[in-house]
Symmetry: C2
Subunit: 514 residues, 2 copies
């Protein structure tokens, strides 16, 4: 028998062996992993932090709510922490690995049923292991006129993790936290609760009306370690009659900042439903290796980006989006967007007008904003190496904040020799943008790894101190991010944690809640 | 000194007198009320329940967070429950009176500052006592291009209560629970927490981005008694370039049921943002006294409504709404709505085409769906007497559920001699409707009061048992409604209550949480 790399903190080898025997009796030998080889998928990191800091002690794949309840009983008995994952990706945010070493991964991939899709209401009830690919295939197979909100790496990730992490999508529904309804949650003591209308045994609106009656507790299970969500109600997006992707090009960050205000006002006016403003570096990183572009010291200088843009006929910054609806609505809305972006100094085009290198960008935008599934966004990890860490400070939708947050991010990354690769994604209401950037680095280069780690901590710190803390944090910076949110929130989270999970067996360290 | 009517449960007269002296020392004599006359506004009931069941022991009006903290200390010391109100209306849901007798009303009307309005983001930070009238005047005075989501009796109620009760509006933003960002909450132990981005001292997005980092606790303070919300971030609605009110008339409930499905599909297609389907009785009740219409036994028969409709050139049921936007967008969207409603058998008109009695309905719809403020909806309480109780079962947006919920409601009301007055309001996502009805009765007629009380309990029970529990309950039926939502939700609410408020001094009985 191969021995696992680490033990759960404070648990003896004998005690852990006894627990493993009990886990195996619940799920079967084949669903408990402790050898390093089989743990590899749960240990692999892209974020810049030491592997040892996130090494699991093992993994267990549960097949049902009842198995989860029995696993919890064992974990409570032996005080073995369980780091719950659904599909188990979370690329650039810590992947499947736990926030702290020695946790047992509770993998829910086997629970992957699409339990119900209502073809009239456009709702779905799914288990944690369901992937977007699976949902996509289901909708096609059943000839249902629905799309769904999804993140870029949709095929290999799923709606459960996307929702619970409060991911940002690109369709009409954008912010996933605004667009789900109802959960089933297993608490640490094994009790099961159905939230919202799901509490009423015979209610016909569990997936249709999210708020239920009395206090709404679903929010407690977002980015949290207070329970294990085993069922989730999704709102599917009706397939639009038509759609068209557009872009407005800008020469510099000042133009990008103006375009953020344009997107804000268009959103407040109900003209657009999605939108982002991206630096050309993102598109370049998708298609080229950095070493083919630049071998100088430090980050690629802004003038070089500008030169490359000029040569390729691309904009340095592009505001992009897709409008949905009846063709007549689309024509009018595009006309409004065109006028507003042009007035802000943008060069406006729609998908029919595009050619050359800009086509790649357009196809990427079209793919993520519609029902197409593709893994082409993963090509970004070929840019510099296998390492990547997302960070997304939350900014108000104002030009001055775009400029300030960009300046801090770009300068801090450059200070450590990394290129600014990112942009600004509009939030649900139009009032905030996620200033989403990714530190791309070569994880196999120890010196670069070290720089990436320092850079990651510094840029997040600098943004937060300027008034732009993150909305979501990778495992290495969860505690640090929680600190930015202050003592009062930490105290209440700690009290809630103690109430829900007195033995602290559920995902300790998640969102800084130990 | 006039003596108050009741004492807090389990508190002696001497102990209460001592507490009152301490309360007075905090807020001043003029802000503590115990004599019956001054308590009248806090005791007045429209819902059909005995006055004695909701009699406060007194009222105290706090002027600041610091005063609230000191009041909480006194209440914890003497175990005096505080029933918190903001503006203190909640018409037809229990008004200002507590769920159980002997509670001290904690009135926050003095805390009525509009603390901040961001003219670019369209956000406002308000205190509990702010009314919609005040916000309306503020926006006009500062020439800001914003409206807000609001309920029918907007002038005399406020955004705090509207939001915390999860009220339904009629503008682009409809469901208020989807459209606020950030709270400040005083907990029972006097600690103060700012939620969401408000936890980060210098974050610039407290009112712009609602979800913050980690678990989202704001939902815990909706329809709840876990804390006292002292500040709230609102999302204002940008003033649209134009708007137009429309209606589609139907002859019977079958047509109304079809129109609900039409509204659902239009909402899923992004064509409409609001909408409701109302029985003509609502419009009639706004403008006429029942005794002038009908003196027979029992409820007004459906045939009589049909006859009145025919005579007046009105529809028995009307699907109504307002479209917002650029005039070109409006024209296209109205055309789509017209085609869909006509295909469903509706007679479609827009505001320019209306004349005669239908104008009253149109003006009412236009008023509640735009920025107009009016109290004309109150005229409904002249229909039969001063009594009224709203109940709104949640139904999926399907014709069969419209028919079933209507049938149960109409028959149960008729069984007790009351007219069905209500309709169906579309929810935020289009997937559910609130089947909102009001029992209008003469509260000064003891026999009718008794019937109304029985009817209220029976209709709510019958709807819930058919799968349509309420989303919000009047004080007399809070416990009953909580029971429908099951043991698991009751247990978790009780655990949360115990954690937040071990002495149970905050609004005991609210949402059935004792």
């Amino acid at each position: 028998m191969t021995i696992q790399a680490v033990l759960p903190p404070g648990v003896s080898k004998e005690s852990f062996a006894a627990a493993l025997a009990e886990y195996r009796a619940i799920v079967g030998d084949q669903w408990v992993f402790v050898d390093l080889e089989r743990l590899a998928p749960y240990s692999r990191l892209m974020v810049p932090d030491d592997d040892a800091a996130h090494q699991p002690c093992g993994a267990i794949a549960a097949g049902s709510v009842e198995e989860i309840q029995r696993i919890l009983a064992v974990s409570n008995k032996y005080k073995i922490p369980l780091w719950t994952i659904s599909v188990g990706r979370n690329f650039g945010y810590g992947e499947a690995a736990p926030a702290t070493p020695g946790q047992m991964i509770l993998d829910l991939k086997r629970m992957n049923r699409i339990l119900e899709v209502d073809p009239e209401l456009g709702t779905a009830l799914v288990e944690p292991g369901v992937t977007f690919k699976q949902l996509h295939d289901y909708l096609i197979e059943h000839n249902l006129p629905f799309w769904f909100n999804k993140p870029a790496p949709a095929p290999v990730v799923g709606p459960m993790g996307f929702t619970l992490e409060r991911g940002m999508g690109y369709t009409r529904y954008q912010e996933q936290a605004q667009n789900f309804s109802g959960m089933e949650v297993v608490l640490a003591d094994g009790s099961v609760i159905r939230t919202g209308m799901g509490g009423a045994e015979n209610a016909k609106t569990w997936q249709a009306y999210r708020w239920g009656y009395g206090p709404w507790i679903d929010g407690l299970f977002l980015q949290s370690n207070f329970g294990i969500v085993t069922k989730l109600g999704l709102w599917l997006m009706k397939r639009p009659a038509a759609h068209k992707t557009w872009a407005a090009g800008f020469l510099d960050i000042d133009g990008a900042a103006r375009s953020v205000e344009v997107l804000r006002d268009l959103r407040l006016d109900g003209v657009i439903e999605n939108g982002m403003v991206a630096h050309m570096s993102y598109g370049v990183a998708l298609t080229q290796k950095r070493s083919d572009l630049f071998n100088g010291p430090g980050a690629i200088p802004e003038e070089m980006w500008a030169g490359m843009a000029k040569q390729a006929g691309l904009a340095v910054w592009s505001a992009v989006g897709t409008v949905f609806g009846h063709p007549d609505q689309i024509a009018i809305n595009l006309d409004i967007i065109r006028k507003a972006m042009t007035a802000a100094g943008g060069f406006f085009i729609t998908e029919e007008q595009v050619s050359g290198p800009a086509s790649i960008l357009f196809n990427n935008i079209k793919m993520i904003t519609t029902d197409q599934l593709s893994l082409e966004d993963f090509a970004i990890f070929n840019y510099r190496g296998s390492g990547g860490a997302w960070f997304a400070p939350v900014i108000p939708s104002k030009a001055k904040d775009v400029l300030e947050c960009y300046r801090i991010s770009q300068r801090t990354l450059a200070e450590f020799g990394f290129d600014y690769i990112g942009g600004f994604m509009i939030g649900y209401s139009g009032r905030h943008f996620d200033a989403a950037s990714i530190i791309l680095y070569d994880r196999d280069n120890p010196e670069e790894f070290k720089r990436a780690k320092q850079c990651y901590l510094k840029v997040v710190d600098a943004c937060a101190k300027a008034g732009y803390p993150l909305y979501r944090a990778g495992t290495p910076i969860m505690k640090m991010t929680a600190d930015f949110y202050g003592e009062a929130q930490k105290t209440i989270n700690a009290r809630l944690k103690h109430m829900f999970d007195p033995n602290h067996i559920l995902s300790p360290g998640k969102s800084g809640i130990a």
